[in-house]
């Protein structure tokens, strides 16, 4: 009976001491690792558009253009002048459009204010439903009605960057 009791006492107690210690040590290690990783600043994903592919950095291929004739240079200069004039008129028209829109808006708001102060305040407040705003650009060729496209799928093969 005494020997059995000694045997029980001699058995190391696994549950009370070692487990919480081990867990604590593990947690500390994990927290240290997290701290270390968090110290490094998050990086932006590199944009492939701005990296020139290597095959274009080969300086052996240089284009040699033939010299232009006098008429050709004259034609180009005059074309450039006409183009810049056209663009200037376009820009002026746009500025005029903006100006007239703003003027009309201000006049309308002034009149509204004279009509009723409440409505004016409600009109001047910002519109919550304006954003998000989405619009597709115009198409050269609108989609054909009743067109039966072939079956297929799109796979996303974007390169995934990890830090």
């Amino acid at each position: 009976m005494l020997a059995a009791a000694r045997g029980l006492r001699a058995q190391p107690k696994k549950k009370k001491k070692v487990d919480p210690k081990r867990e604590q040590a593990q947690k500390d290690r994990v927290k240290k690792k997290i701290k270390k990783l968090e110290k490094a600043a998050p990086e932006l994903i590199p944009i492939e558009d701005f990296e020139t592919p290597l095959k274009f950095s080969d300086s052996n291929r240089v284009r040699s253009l033939p010299p232009l004739s006098f008429e050709e240079t004259e034609r180009r200069v005059l074309l450039m002048k006409k183009w810049s004039l056209y663009k200037q008129q376009q820009d002026k028209a746009e500025k005029e459009a903006i100006r007239s829109l703003v003027e009309a808006q201000q006049e309308a708001l002034k009149e509204l204010r004279l009509e009723s102060e409440e409505l004016y305040q409600a009109a001047v407040r910002r519109d919550e439903e304006l954003f998000p705003f989405e619009r597709d650009g115009p198409n050269y060729t609108p989609p054909l009605p009743g067109y039966d496209p072939p079956e297929g799928k799109c796979i996303d093969i974007t390169k995934v960057y990890t830090q």
Partner: protein
């Protein structure tokens, strides 16, 4: 003349420290690589000013979308709208496959790259916002998809690289 020296500091003289100006300049916060985010603006209705708005332009044609982004940026500058940032989102590549008529094999049709440029503006007045929208819409080129939305933290986070190890460890802790 070799008599006048400019390098000695006459510390007992009252003119000591004459010419110092750096302590008068405002403290410049060193810009960390983390790109200071969260420039949240007042989004109160009665103030009639919108917070940070992202104008996102997406298209398959890179030159077109870049030129349009430049145009929008210049327009905002001219109209004295504050432009916080003007950046590019990472390019997405899609492989389009279609099923052949006679057969069950998928045929590679094309590889399309989607480019996106973002112009971030702030302090847009509520009366001017519809006018700006109108102008941008009228000059929208073909094939360019326009999206205007408010700037959120998720938008900012989508530009950063993913950190799977950090996420794993964080999942372990919680």
């Amino acid at each position: 003349d070799g008599l006048v020296n400019f390098h000695r500091h006459y510390r007992s003289r009252p003119t000591h420290g004459i010419g110092k100006y750096k302590h008068l300049l405002p403290k410049e916060v060193p810009k960390r690589k983390r790109d200071r985010l969260q420039m949240k603006e007042i989004n109160v209705g009665t103030e009639h000013e919108y917070g940070d708005i992202n104008i996102q332009m997406t298209s398959y044609d890179m030159c077109l979308v870049e030129h349009f982004a430049q145009y929008v940026h210049k327009l905002c500058n001219q109209l004295s709208i504050r432009v916080n940032e003007s950046y590019a989102m990472p390019t997405k590549t899609n492989e389009v496959l279609f099923m052949e008529e006679r057969g069950s094999k998928m045929q590679v049709d094309a590889v399309l790259t989607t480019h996106q440029r973002v112009v971030q503006i702030s302090r847009l007045s509520s009366t001017f916002a519809p006018i700006l929208l109108e102008i941008i819409q009228s000059s929208q080129p073909e094939g360019v998809h326009l999206l205007m939305k408010e700037h959120t933290e998720t938008d900012f986070k989508s530009r950063l690289k993913s950190r799977p190890e950090l996420e794993e460890l964080l999942a372990q802790v919680s």
